[in-house]
């Protein structure tokens, strides 16, 4: 039973509440870095690391942080972890670091991290929070991986850097350029709509109030939004 509770968090993060494809959170990095499968997965994994540790730390501190200043406190925790991740990547994965560039420090303002801190880690124990972070992080990585694979295949004719389309076929270059990001996500959501998977896209295009963190918190309390 105990084991199931932990596995349930992972299942929840990857399938049931996939942060990008179902909850529609963290769209900025999802659109920006999915120019190739490798970049998408690299970004997903960096976010996974930050998310897991931030959930852990915030869960440990949850009884110490006063409610009024919790958001600045979360931001400091997340920003410190992002800085550590950034320095580690610069040292050990310089190629990926150069590819992702500005989007690594911007993990700080990723809605998923603040959203999970507020909605889960601040209310649950450290172990469960770690599992939640891993589940959500893996879900995010999968979504970015899928989008990255699609865009790389359509736009560059390759799969993880290996050319798979014959040279005589010209890939549709627009898919690795900015417009392609919007198009690929439009197609993914459209397909999900068509086969009847319920996503929270309404929150994304209609009731977001302009603030990523707020957005995340609202999405985490679906009952509240729907009851309005």
């Amino acid at each position: 039973m105990l084991k199931n509770k932990y596995l349930e968090r992972i299942y929840n993060g990857i399938i049931k509440e996939n942060p990008t494809l179902i909850l529609m959170l963290g769209m900025c990095p999802a659109l920006a870095v999915t120019t190739s499968a490798m970049n998408g997965i690299g970004m997903g994994l960096s976010t996974l690391v930050v998310l897991t540790f931030s959930n852990f730390v915030i869960s440990l501190l949850r009884k110490l942080i006063p409610a009024e200043v919790r958001l600045p406190a979360y931001i400091v925790v997340v920003a410190s972890l992002v800085t550590v991740t950034e320095l580690l990547m610069e040292a050990y994965l310089p190629a990926l670091y150069d590819e992702l560039g500005i989007y690594i420090p911007l993990i700080v303002v990723n809605c998923i991290i603040l959203g999970r801190a507020e909605a889960y880690a601040s209310k649950n124990g450290p172990l469960l929070s770690i599992m939640d972070g891993i589940g959500m992080g893996v879900g995010f990585t999968c979504a970015l991986g899928v989008a990255g694979i699609l865009r790389e295949f359509l736009g560059a004719g390759s799969f993880f850097g290996m050319r798979v389309l014959p040279e005589s076929v010209d890939p549709i270059a627009i898919f690795v350029q900015p417009p392609g990001a919007f198009l690929v996500f439009a197609i993914i959501i459209c397909v999900m709509n068509a086969i009847g998977i319920k996503t929270r896209q309404k929150e994304l295009v209609e009731s977001c109030d302009g603030c990523c963190a707020n957005c995340a918190m609202k999405c985490e309390n679906p009952g509240e939004v729907e009851n309005k």
Partner: protein, 192 residues
């Protein structure tokens, strides 16, 4: 002088913050439902980003860089931006209620808009001086406003159209954004 104008044009059109760099996507897709709200948010973003890039530039040049605290920039910038937004809000509330009334509700929400932090960090990366930072912040925010107002106008047109069911909601908005992005790619051909 030319290079300064170029910074504004490049920030606003060529490297459009939303359509080319994907910063501030949440608010871009969410708020563009209404024209009036989009314009107000655009105004608030111009205000906050310009001030935030100025302060971030001063802080980096005079506090962080001389003391070798370069690696602290993410933490420092995000906290300074959050505090700054609060101060600007209080200041406006006291001194000019008219501006506060039109921009007010959007100010606190912008704190965690990734475009603000993104611009501050890009400025530092590009090694801009103070004036260049302010102009680049202003240009970027202008680009954000142009993009969100354009998308709001497009969405007011497609609202009455008969869109196939699976495309309703987010997909059609994303497709509109994709077409805008293709149009903005044309600016990349600008030569100076």
């Amino acid at each position: 002088m030319t290079s300064l104008i170029l910074i504004i044009i490049s920030g606003a059109l060529i490297n459009n913050v939303v359509l080319n760099q994907f910063l501030g996507i949440c608010s871009f897709l969410g708020v563009s439902k209404q024209m009036k709200a989009s314009a107000s948010l655009g105004g608030a973003v111009i205000f906050v980003i310009t001030i935030a890039s100025a302060v971030a530039s001063l802080l980096y040049d005079y506090v962080l860089a001389p003391n070798g605290l370069d690696y602290m920039k993410t933490i420092v910038f995000i906290l300074v931006i959050a505090a700054l937004v609060q101060i600007v809000e209080m200041f406006l509330k006291k001194t000019s209620p008219a501006i506060y009334k039109s921009l007010g509700i959007y100010l606190p929400l912008i704190t965690t808009n990734c475009a603000v932090l993104g611009v501050a960090l890009t400025n530092v990366q590009n090694g801009y001086n103070f004036i260049e930072c302010v102009l680049s912040g202003f240009g970027t925010a202008l680009g954000y406003t142009i993009a969100i107002v354009l998308l709001a106008s497009i969405r007011s047109r497609i609202r009455e159209e008969d869109i196939p069911a699976p495309l309703r909601g987010a997909p059609i908005v994303l497709i509109s954004a994709a077409l805008m992005s293709i149009a903005f790619m044309g600016f990349a051909q600008l030569n100076f």
